[in-house]
Structure formats: structure tokens, C-alpha cells
């Protein structure tokens, strides 16, 4: 490959606003070879194997590694239509209420995070008030601050508030943990909205709140969508908080069930546990499949590369 193969014509450079990889295009044409593909594939093999195995294993009576050692079956999924016949689930809360709990938990978390961080993000982006700098600084600090170190003290706070062992308490803690990231992301999105629009609305006599709700919020819809998805997925997946703060399990989530199965049934019923696992992870995978771009956007708004 020599200089003469220079691929792009000078008339072609188009710089897209979202940085949609113009450099990648030019480079790939120049550097094209099979090697990067092979290396990339090799790196990725473990992940492909893990997920492939999960999917396969839930449809066979027995798997030996990647080799099905039994016939194809839907038996593993009978926890959905005949949960009473699944011995391992007998002493556990039924799967449908668990799913609803998980859904409530993640939706509520997302709602709280969206509402609070869009208000706070807007205020931080637009208003001057005493302590603004300090608040922004501490939020950034909290964002990079590993909240799990605080679990012991959070436990005490929840007990004091009477929210220990309740779904509501866990929702609040989860939302609070997600908040610093949310506030920064929303501030980032608000910062990109030209303020002339609001200025016009304000001059025309709209109040702050009206301007925020009617003019600015619609403009950051992509940000809200992305943040909402992120908070939802994060809530859906959460394990540690319900595990620690709801020990009685009356309002347990799917992650608690999975952990129980993982702990007791390591080598008992592969098929069943993988089926439950797939059932649990499937909504997230589907969301990801359809909203990948939105989820990726969060990094454009939140983390400055």
C-alpha cells in the first residue's frame, strides 16, 4: 500500500455534527485488511460464548459445555406456565409478582431520576444562585464517588427513616445513587440548547417554569430518553441494594431470586436456572437492541472525551 492509493477525493470531506466517524471511513478504506477483524473477533469470543451458551442451555435438558447432551426441550421454561411443578422454586416467591416488583422498582427509579435531575440540571445550567459552584463540584465528586462504600451508613439512615426493608426505601437510595450522573448528563444537554430560545420566551412573558417545561424540556427529549433508559436498565439489574436493604424478601426483585438459585443450585438444574436467567436478562437485551443509539448518546452528553 503506497501513497498513490490515497482514497478520498478532496471534494468529499463532510464533517457531520455528531462525529459519525468520518475518520473511521477514510482509515478503513486505507488500512483494510482481515487482521483487525480477526483480532477483534478473538477478543470478543468469550462474550459471544457466554451469551450463546445461556441461550442454548435454556432449551436443552442437559448441556456439557457447548455440546447439548440431551434433547431439545421447552421444559426449562415451565416456570412461566406451571411454576408449581418446579421443585426449586417452591420455597421462593412466585416469578410473576417478582417481575412486577422489578418493573415497579426500575420504572420508579427512572421516574425519580428523570424528574429530579432535569430540574436540578436545568437550574445548574441556567440560573445563578449562591453555592452553585460548590453544588456542581460536589455532584461531580459524588458521581465519581463510589456509593457502595456508603452502604453501611445508608442502612442506618433507612432505619431512622423507617424505610428499611421496604421497596420505597430502596427506590430512593437507588435514585439518589443515580442522581449525580443524571444531573451532569442533563446539565450537559441543557448547555447545548441555545439560550436565545428561552430568552425569546422569557421576553414574551413566560415564567421560568413554563419556559422550562414548554420550551426547553421538549428540546432535550433525546437526553431524557437516554437517561431514562439508563436509569431503567440500571434499576432492572440492581442486585446489591435490594439484597442488603430488603432482607425479608417480601418485595424482592428478580435479581434476588437469581442470586438464591445461583447460591443453592450451582449444579442442580442448569436448564431451569439458565431459563430464568434468560427471562430476566431478555427485556434488557431487547431494549438495548432497539435503543442502542439512545443509550450510547448518554456518553456524548455526559462524558467529555
Amino acid at each position: 500500500m503506497t501513497v498513490t492509493t490515497t482514497p478520498t477525493s478532496p471534494a468529499a470531506p463532510q464533517i457531520t455534527p455528531e462525529l459519525a466517524s468520518p475518520s473511521a471511513g477514510a482509515l478503513s478504506r486505507g488500512l483494510f485488511s482481515a487482521l483487525p477483524y480477526a483480532v477483534l473477533f478473538l477478543f470478543t469470543v468469550p462474550i459471544l460464548l457466554l451469551y450463546g451458551w445461556l441461550a442454548f442451555s435454556s432449551f436443552f435438558t442437559r448441556m456439557e459445555g457447548l455440546r447439548p447432551a440431551g434433547p431439545f426441550t421447552l421444559e426449562n421454561w415451565r416456570f412461566l406456565w406451571a411454576p408449581e411443578t418446579v421443585e426449586q422454586l417452591n420455597n421462593k416467591p412466585p416469578i410473576i409478582p417478582l417481575t412486577i416488583n422489578t418493573l415497579v422498582f426500575s420504572l420508579a427509579t427512572a421516574a425519580v431520576v428523570l424528574l429530579i435531575s432535569s430540574m436540578a440540571g436545568y437550574a445548574l445550567s441556567r440560573l445563578y444562585f449562591p453555592g452553585r459552584r460548590m453544588f456542581l463540584g460536589s455532584v461531580l465528586l459524588l458521581h465519581s464517588f463510589p456509593s457502595v462504600t456508603l452502604l453501611i451508613a445508608t442502612f442506618m439512615v433507612l432505619r431512622q427513616l423507617g424505610l428499611y426493608d421496604q421497596l420505597l426505601g430502596v427506590i430512593l437510595v437507588k435514585a439518589a445513587f443515580e442522581l449525580p450522573l443524571g444531573i451532569w448528563i442533563m446539565k450537559g444537554f441543557f448547555d447545548t440548547i441555545p439560550w436565545e430560545l428561552e430568552m425569546a420566551a422569557l421576553v414574551d412573558g413566560a415564567g421560568r417554569i413554563t419556559t422550562w417545561w414548554r420550551i426547553v424540556m421538549p428540546l432535550v427529549r433525546p437526553g431524557l430518553l437516554a437517561l431514562g433508559l439508563l436509569a431503567f436498565v440500571s434499576g432492572w439489574n440492581e442486585f446489591l441494594l435490594p439484597f442488603v436493604f430488603m432482607p425479608s424478601g417480601s418485595q424482592a426483585t428478580l435479581s434476588i431470586l437469581m442470586q438464591a438459585l445461583l447460591g443453592e443450585g450451582r449444579f442442580v438444574d442448569y436448564g431451569l436456572v439458565t431459563a430464568v436467567g434468560l427471562y430476566y436478562v431478555l427485556p434488557v437485551l431487547l431494549l438495548f437492541l432497539f435503543a442502542q443509539d439512545q443509550l450510547m448518546k448518554i456518553y456524548g452528553g455526559g462524558v467529555k472525551g
Partner: protein, 292 residues
């Protein structure tokens, strides 16, 4: 603003103060939540005297160092490769790499646990068998390897995302100029891309150092600090075990808080470095409208 302040106060500020406060008490299940006493620096002295402190500290440093190296190198590798291949293929691979991050930790660990299972079950055993490696239950025989793999394949995607968007924001002219000047792929990466990625790399480095120091969810689920006594126990997991999930039944809130406080202090230090490095002032520049 109001609600944000309340939640942040209740679940960040108060816990930080509480953690520090509790670390000077003897609060535990045995004393109950009412009958505790101030115990001065007893918890910290106990930490220094403790026979496992050094082992766990060593574990922690080892874990953070190796996982960090893996995360950065792998993240960088995947980002560079996926940007340099055909765009659709590239984003497909990046999506695959995000899967571990967006999957519930319990399911992700479940997959690894069974991949590591003893013969005839484990996938890992099947894969390494042709190379003459004897089949085994990897979590018991090589717990650190598994802990690092499990964390690494989650952690690398963070760097991958940050690096990908950073590489894409490099003006194309730079690549084209180098290309015209006859640079080869490696030279372009080495002389143009990597130097321009200095800040993102530093960012990911700092950020992940903090999250690795404090993260224990995957270790908790995978080995729970074992096998045996504290084989893969890291500092944050130790604090968790001491205060919230003890083998011995007595939950020592005070001692656990002292252990967490050490992590808190470490976290604060790294945060301040982070703030300094990232020119905090640029990020909080005054707003443009100032009508109240």
C-alpha cells in the same frame, strides 16, 4: 433543586458523616443500635493490628492494578480496532462488548460460573482441553483468574466507549495528512491517535481506579471472598462482610464503618485529583442567562 438536595443530603452527605462517626464507636449487633459507646480510635488500631489486613490490602492492590491494566488495554484495543474496521461491523462489536455491562450482575456471574464448571460441564474446560490443560473447577483452582476475567470483561467497555468517541472526535484531516505523508497504520495510531487520547485515558484511569477500589458486587457473587479464608477478599468486600453480611452472625457496624471510612478517604483523594486534572473550572463556567 430542592428534591435533588434532599436526596443527595440523605443518601450521600449524611452517610459520609455517619460513616466517619460510626467508625469511632463499637456499634454492633451485640451492642444493639442503642447501647453503643464511643471507642476512640480502637477500630483503626484493630485494623492495623489485624492479621488479615495486609493480606486483604495486598489483594485489593493486586486486583485494582491488574483489572485496571486489562480494562485500559482491552478498552483501547477494542476501540481502536472497531473504529478502524468497517463502521457497521465496528458498532456491532462494540454492542457485543456492552452486553456484560447492561446485563444484570447475577446473570452475568451465572454464565461465568458455569463456563468455569468442572468437567464435563464447563465451556472453559472444553476450550483449553486441546492445549493439554487438565479439566478443573476454575473458580476453586484459579479464583483470581476468574475474578479478573469477570470484572475485566465488564470494565473494558467503559474505556471502549470513552475512547471510541474520543477517536471519532479527532479531525479527519490529521489522519489524511499522515496518510498522504506515507505513514502506516501503526504509525498513525502510535503518533497521532494515542497522543490525542491522553486525556481520555487519564480520565478512564482515574475513574476506574475509584470504582475498582470500591466495587465488590461481582466478587461477592462469584467467590464471596473465597475459596478458603479471604483468598479473593478485597477491602470493600471486607467492609461489607464485617458490617452487613458476616459469617459469624455478629454484624460489627462500627468496625465496618472504619473500614469503609478508609475507602471513603481514598475515594475523596482520588476525586480531588480527578477534579484538578480535569480543569474543573471549565466544567462549571458561569451560566449565560442570569434571570431569576
Amino acid at each position: 433543586m430542592g428534591p435533588a438536595l434532599i436526596l443527595v443530603m440523605a443518601f450521600f452527605v449524611a452517610p459520609v458523616i455517619l460513616t466517619l462517626g460510626m467508625s469511632f464507636t463499637d456499634m454492633a449487633t451485640t451492642t444493639g443500635l442503642a447501647n453503643w459507646h464511643w471507642s476512640g480510635t480502637e477500630n483503626y488500631e484493630r485494623m492495623v493490628r489485624g492479621s488479615f489486613t495486609l493480606l486483604i490490602l495486598g489483594n485489593t492492590l493486586f486486583y485494582v492494578a491488574v483489572a485496571l491494566t486489562f480494562n485500559i488495554l482491552m478498552g483501547l484495543g477494542v476501540a481502536l480496532l472497531s473504529v478502524h474496521v468497517e463502521p457497521r461491523t465496528g458498532s456491532f462489536f462494540r454492542a457485543i462488548w456492552l452486553l456484560p455491562r447492561i446485563s444484570p450482575s447475577v446473570v452475568y456471574v451465572l454464565m461465568w460460573t458455569w463456563a468455569a464448571a468442572a468437567p464435563p460441564y464447563g465451556v472453559i474446560n472444553q476450550l483449553v482441553a486441546p492445549f493439554g490443560v487438565e479439566g478443573r473447577y476454575w473458580i476453586n483452582s484459579d479464583p483470581w483468574l476468574m475474578v479478573l476475567l469477570v470484572n475485566g470483561f465488564v470494565g473494558a467497555s467503559f474505556g471502549m466507549l470513552v475512547f471510541t468517541s474520543a477517536i471519532r472526535s479527532i479531525p479527519e484531516e490529521l489522519f489524511r495528512a499522515a496518510w498522504v505523508d506515507g505513514a502506516n497504520a501503526w504509525q498513525i495510531v502510535r503518533r497521532i491517535t494515542l497522543p490525542l487520547l491522553r486525556w481520555p485515558i487519564l480520565f478512564v484511569l482515574t475513574y476506574q481506579t475509584m470504582s475498582l477500589f470500591s466495587s465488590y458486587e461481582y466478587i461477592l457473587l462469584l467467590t464471596n471472598g473465597g475459596p478458603g479464608l479471604y483468598r479473593t477478599e478485597v477491602w470493600s468486600l471486607w467492609a461489607f462482610h464485617t458490617a452487613l453480611n458476616s459469617y459469624f452472625g455478629n454484624l460489627e457496624f462500627g468496625y465496618g464503618a472504619a473500614l469503609a471510612a478508609v475507602l471513603v478517604v481514598m475515594g475523596l483523594l482520588v476525586s480531588f485529583i480527578l477534579l484538578r486534572l480535569f480543569r474543573f473550572n471549565d466544567l462549571v463556567s458561569e451560566p449565560r442567562i442570569e434571570i431569576t
